[in-house]
Amino acid sequence: MKHQASVASRLYGRLDDVSGEAGYAEHPPRVGFFTDTSVCIGCKACEVACKEWNALPDPDAGVLKLSGESYDNTSALGASSWRHVAFIEQGPLDAGAPAAGGLSPADVLGPALAGLASPDSVAPATRWLMASDVCKHCTHAACLDVCPTGALVRTEFGTVIVQSDVCNGCAYCVSACPFGVIDRREDDGRAWKCTMCYDRLRGGMEPACAKACPTDSIQFGPLDELRVTAAARVQELHASGVTDARLYGADPDDGIGGAGAFFLLLDEPEVYGLPPNPVVTTKDLPAMWKWAGGAAALLVAGVAAAFAGRRP
């Protein structure tokens, strides 16, 4: 196991031994989630099991409102919601590529309804996509890279956690995450996100959400094995005519070096609120430092020029 990965691959691209690169001499195999959304029944057991295990704070009662967006009243991941089940209602027209007249979920809310006269002018729902979203525990984790205090670290299991006894709430990670997962809890001041139940992993236990999931849509295990299972599942679905099935975040050569929590989706990622092709910002960091250095030099030159005039 070559520990000293080349510098470039330590910032971007394929990185096979993510714990080794973070200094762990021996460590268990990297574990992760494979979420097969084709069997998700949108029951939100994952959301509740996560909050109960991690004792996440309750939203204050006043804020509890119906979102009007199908059965999703959680709306997004956040500092106190580490699992979020998305609900997308689709008719035959807007499955796959967006046809001009098609009703995508976003515009079910809008004026599209005004012109409806006859009952059949709106295609019936024939598909209701449900997916449980979670932190991706990226191979190249922007949140971890940008964290100035070392609060965000790679664990021996290859997962990414916020060390709440270190975090000073600088919130740099909030802007760095390409998936919009981590956030700062305003009353508490610190940043929070899914830890893949790091404490449970230390006790040899399965994360709470994966254990609770009634249909095993959330599968937990060694990442390599999950990638094999997932690929087979995609073939199985394609064979049975579900040609929309595709993996998301499973490719170790993608923009974040592959995700520790990857998905099987049935439509484009953005339909679920996921970025289509996220790239870890650290990839361009060397170039950024060069431009900053250049600008600094310009500044010095500018000042020097300004003072170049002879002093009588």
Partner: protein, 192 residues
């Protein structure tokens, strides 16, 4: 630990001397992370139970820990041994810990006087006596020995609703007691 103690704890020092130069892992680990462990390990006992919500009957494990003198449920999750649920739960089952520990639970007797606008407290013992008195009185006032000339030996003075969320043993005692008292108006959710 490094002989210089404090300096050795400083992650930057560990970055320079250890395998984690970029400070992404071992160098930056905090005491809290080193001490991480599941709270179920500190439980005094684990009890196998069944989810109280629906009729599927999912297996549950209830972890109890003794904290400052009293027992407290610290976690309820699925029982992987159950052939019905294989360790899995639905959102309600997964919320069982909150169901049994949330502050909104009313754990003291409340009593409302006729026509009163508010609750008032009442001792459990006193309440049981008052209820027993009322049952005996209602039974007496409404006893029906016969109905349309035939012996019925019953009372229509008080009724009972509920049982589907109760244990079989509880249903048994209620049915046994009610029937022996002649009270026939006894129903539960199986009918709604």
């Amino acid at each position: 630990m490094d002989p210089r103690g404090r300096l050795g704890k400083w992650p930057v020092y560990r970055q320079l001397t250890g395998r984690d130069q970029l400070g992404r892992g071992t160098a930056a680990r905090s005491p809290g992370t080193e001490a991480a462990a599941p709270r179920t390990e500190s439980a005094d006992r684990v009890v196998s139970s069944i989810c109280p919500y629906c009729a599927v009957g999912c297996g549950q494990l209830v972890y109890v820990a003794r904290r400052d003198g009293t027992d407290a449920v610290t976690q309820i999750e699925g029982d992987p041994d159950s052939p019905v649920s294989r360790g899995r739960l639905c959102p309600k089952g997964a919320a069982s810990k909150q169901l049994v520990t949330h502050p909104g639970r009313q754990t003291t007797v409340l009593y409302r006087r006729p026509y009163a606008a508010e609750w008032e407290p009442l001792s459990l013992d006193r309440a049981m006596d008052m209820i027993a008195d009322r049952v005996v009185a209602a039974r007496e006032q409404t006893w029906q020995e016969t109905w349309q000339g035939k012996r019925v030996a019953r009372t229509m003075g008080f009724a009972s609703l509920g049982g589907a969320t109760l244990d079989n043993e509880e249903n048994y005692l209620i049915k046994k007691l009610w029937t022996a008292m002649g009270a026939i108006q006894i129903e539960n959710q199986a009918r709604i």
